[in-house]
Symmetry: C2
Subunit: 238 residues, 2 copies
DNA sequence: GCGGCTCACATTGTCAACAATCGACTGTCT
DNA sequence: AGACAGTCGATTGTTGACAATGTGAGCCGC
């Protein structure tokens, strides 16, 4: 009974279009709405209303919400309500400190295997980000920056690391979106990313480590100034 | 609308016994059954059967399973079935490499704040683990070892780090349980943990880093020997 | 004998109705 | 006036039935 999957490797790789279950679509839609800022942090998500909005029943919707709860984007209180998580100063500080560690670990994993494809991919994503920044398109630059860093994680092939990055990325994106809504353009960051990529392609690992630490410290400082201003009444998550 | 929670800090802290929703109970029970090894890796979990077994409907059960899927313990294929995840050699290698990074990060966070309570707590948990090993109680030693390392993560107060450790711990426990079932006692590990705790309480951070790296490398090697033996036909997760 | 097809079964996905719980409001009693 | 109990509305938790899909067995033609 435990060996259902046998030699179906080919069949399961090709033509894997499983008719799209609703739950996945809802989870994606909701996540996008939250990360885009269409739903503000702290706002309550009412199941019946959302179900209507998505044109589905509450069952699939609840499962999608459960998924987002596990991703750390929502927080639920039984019989009371589910809210979009609000990030406190400490939360964002944790995110940045974690990123330093994970990103250095990622480069450790890939350092000896930085082939031409990796170098080209990294440069291409930096250029894309630079273009967004020059165009002052903040929403696009958020996506571009996430893709730049995500490319590094992906390149490691370390599934557990990628999974962890995914869980952090959501919260980071949530914070960036809030920051963007409140402040508009986040300021010039061209030089920072140029240095970052330069170091990533160099042969001096320690220099890269310093650069990553500084890179994140800069982002973290920007953060605290922003969050300390408002009350940061966080609907605490996890 | 977004300010439902106001000055209810006290009321929400005290007397928070929300009548125990089923889903939480089911998730805990299922998780325990899987990590205990009562359900073997690769086995299929049929919703109707499990729902009967737990005496609930399929709704709450599905939500509990969704949660375990997000924890990386189950893997689901739409319209086909949900299986307990099987760990491959690479998966376990990833877990151990990740642990090295995370645990060193944890000690970085707490290094300057290692007060008396921390030292006592660490020693107490090492003694508990030693007792389990001397008694050759393998099941208990697994729990004790997880609590020893978990104590370090908890001590950091870094919620995101703790959350990440939780997600890894499940898979680690899953592997240890399988290892235990196949091999029985995993061999003497007294010395290793004694050294680990000794370094953790010393003032030589670099020595601790080396010790952690070696500690994990030993566990990792033990792993590969074990897993390489069998086919490791992994019901791939994530 | 073998490849493709059909069909029935097992399992998961979805839905709409019902029950339990929480928070606020109100009216009363002291 | 202030505190307290009861009640009401809103929201989530749970259930059983129905629909959609994937899988494998059996059949047929070659």
């Amino acid at each position: 009974m435990a060996d259902g999957a046998k030699g179906k490797a080919l069949g399961s790789v090709l033509a894997r279009v499983p008719k799209a279950t609703f739950r996945a679509h809802i989870a994606d839609g909701l996540r996008a709405a939250i990360l885009n800022g269409d739903i503000e942090p702290g706002a309550q998500l009412v199941e019946t209303a959302l179900a209507d909005q998505f044109g589905v029943s509450r069952g699939p919707l609840r499962e999608a919400m459960r998924q987002l709860i596990d991703e750390g984007l929502l927080v639920a209180v039984p019989y009371t309500g589910t809210h979009v998580v609000g990030l406190s100063v400490d939360d964002v500080r944790e995110i940045y400190s974690m990123r330093v560690t994970l990103e250095i670990f990622a480069f450790e994993q890939i350092w000896a295997r930085r082939d031409q494809a990796f170098r080209q991919g990294l440069v291409a994503r930096r250029d894309a980000l630079t273009a967004c920044i020059d165009a002052e398109d903040d929403a696009a630059s958020i996506v571009a920056e996430l893709q730049l860093h995500g490319f590094v994680y992906e390149a490691t092939g370390h599934k557990l690391l990628i999974r962890t990055w995914d869980s952090i990325r959501g919260r980071l994106q949530l914070y960036w979106a809030a920051h963007h809504r409140a402040h508009g353009i986040r300021g010039p960051r061209r030089d920072g990313h140029d240095r970052y990529v330069e170091m990533a392609l160099s042969d001096d690992f320690d220099a890269l480590k310093s650069e990553i630490t500084d890179h994140m410290a800069r982002g973290g400082r920007q953060t605290e100034d922003f969050l300390r201003g408002r009350e940061a009444r966080a609907v605490q998550g996890s």
